[in-house]
């Protein structure tokens, strides 16, 4: 009998997990790809990265390390249409673990789509993009909010 209760309890908890709705705003369709690719010009495509975010009741931090080469110019294209909640985007010359790092760029995802050309003086062989993600504004516990930031980079020798 005890075993039967265990089965029922586990089945109910499985049902409860499945009842949660995932609301994924991540938008990476052909229109976004075309827009990002177009905005890279006249730079050559270097690489791209989609940072996927699952909003939670706690703020989060994600850092993307971008290796760069000397004597090249770079262009960064950010698309944040796939976020239903704003986040902060900051760019640094050193990683978060380095207290003497300098901030090169400071913005929010509010612009939805923007281009940033880091100044040559600020780009040595690394650059760090920090995404500061606030706690979810969603109060409905049955809904999990997901989204993404699309980052393209281009180079010109």
């Amino acid at each position: 009998m005890r075993n039967l209760f265990l089965v029922i309890a586990l089945s109910i908890s499985t049902l409860a997990i499945q009842a949660q709705t995932v609301r994924n705003s991540c938008k990476w369709d052909d229109a976004v790809k075309k827009k990002c690719k177009g905005d890279l010009k006249p730079f050559h495509y270097y690489a791209f990265k989609i940072t996927k975010i699952t909003f939670s009741n706690k703020s989060q931090f994600k850092e993307v390390e971008v290796p760069l080469f000397h004597d090249a110019n770079y262009r960064f294209v950010f698309n944040t249409e796939g976020l239903h909640q704003d986040i902060k985007i900051e760019i640094y010359d050193k990683p978060a673990s380095n207290s003497s790092r300098k901030k090169i760029y400071d913005g929010t995802s509010h612009e939805r789509h923007f281009v940033y050309d880091p100044p040559k003086s600020a780009t040595h062989n690394r650059i760090y993009i920090d995404y500061i993600i606030p706690a979810s504004s969603n109060t409905d516990a049955s809904v999990i909010d997901k989204g993404c930031i699309i980052f393209y980079s281009g180079f010109k020798n």
Binding site: V7, S11, L15, A47, K62, H124, K146
Partner: protein, 289 residues
């Protein structure tokens, strides 16, 4: 726990979870092998992102070397005739990277007569490592052949291929595979740099070789993040780590993070010779048939 309970839980979970439609489609052994490879390499869950790595393309590495005066030397690239002799998954993935770097070197040096053969070789390997979808468009091959002889157009086609590969990797959670591909491309890029440098361009090329070494720690970390490392890729990761440690110990590069130009990278002749030897050894191991 009682076996009956486990069975009951599994059955009830399966019923509630609707485990997907059964497929009646017959797949060939080869397709099945590709699927297995993809599944094996794919990370679990779409946003399980422990540490992410952002690595440059073979084309950018090639163009950096070329801008520093690296000339084309016939016969130093990996011969396309070797392709059928790469048997294991790791050999195929690594040499996909090697041939990608070779193709970039050939194109950037205007050797279009060899380019089609290299692209076809890459296409052969792409089918075998589960990347066939990137190259399946007939239009891509035609566009490539039409662009031969026009440097800007062919570079744009290469960039398109790179972009499509990156998107395919992301859509299919194949980042682990792409790190191994990059390892092959990186070693080949360095090898070409070592082999094609001469008295005239050695100062510039050695600066670029040292500059490339600064991304090696990213590559090592990327390889180590792979949960499905095969024995030979694990060995490669160890060898690359050894190379990275050798570089980190060099007194002349203690402040390499703060230098303003690649020309400021310094390396003694002895250390350059040692570095070159390690690169050649690594490349030989990857491409040997």
């Amino acid at each position: 726990m009682d076996k009956k309970i486990i069975a009951a839980i599994c059955i009830s979970t399966m019923i509630m979870g609707s485990c997907g439609e059964a497929t009646t489609e017959q797949v060939s052994k080869e397709e099945q092998a590709q699927d297995d490879l993809l599944n094996e390499m794919a990370t679990e869950g779409e946003d399980v992102e422990e540490e992410s790595f952002y690595l440059p393309s073979a084309l950018q590495i090639g163009s950096i070397f070329q801008k520093s005066g690296l000339k084309y030397i016939e016969g130093i690239t990996n011969s396309p005739s070797n392709v059928e002799q790469y048997i294991t998954k790791s050999q195929k993935i690594l040499n996909f990277g090697v041939y990608s770097a070779d193709l970039a070197y050939i194109i950037l040096n205007g050797q279009s007569q060899n380019a089609t053969e290299y692209l076809k070789t890459i296409k052969v390997l792409s089918d075998k490592i589960g990347f066939g979808a990137v190259f399946e468009s007939q239009d891509l091959m035609e566009k490539f052949e039409r662009s031969l002889g026009n440097q800007d157009s062919i570079i744009n086609v290469m960039i398109d291929i790179q972009m499509q590969t990156d998107m395919f990797v992301d859509e299919n959670n194949l980042q682990d595979v792409t790190y191994i591909i990059f390892a092959g491309a990186w070693v080949e890029g360095m090898y070409l740099g070592v082999k094609a440098s001469n008295q005239e361009n050695q100062h510039m090329i050695s600066g670029r070789l040292v500059e490339q070494m600064t991304i090696l720690d990213n590559l090592v970390r990327a390889l180590r993040s792979n949960k499905n490392l095969t024995e030979d890729v694990e060995q490669l990761s160890k060898d690359l780590n050894k190379l990275d440690k050798f570089f980190m110990r060099l007194e002349e590069n203690k402040n390499s993070q703060n230098i303003a130009s690649f020309r400021d990278y310094k390396i003694s002749k002895e250390h350059l010779a040692e570095l070159s030897e390690m690169i050649i050894e690594l490349r030989t191991r990857i491409t040997k048939v």
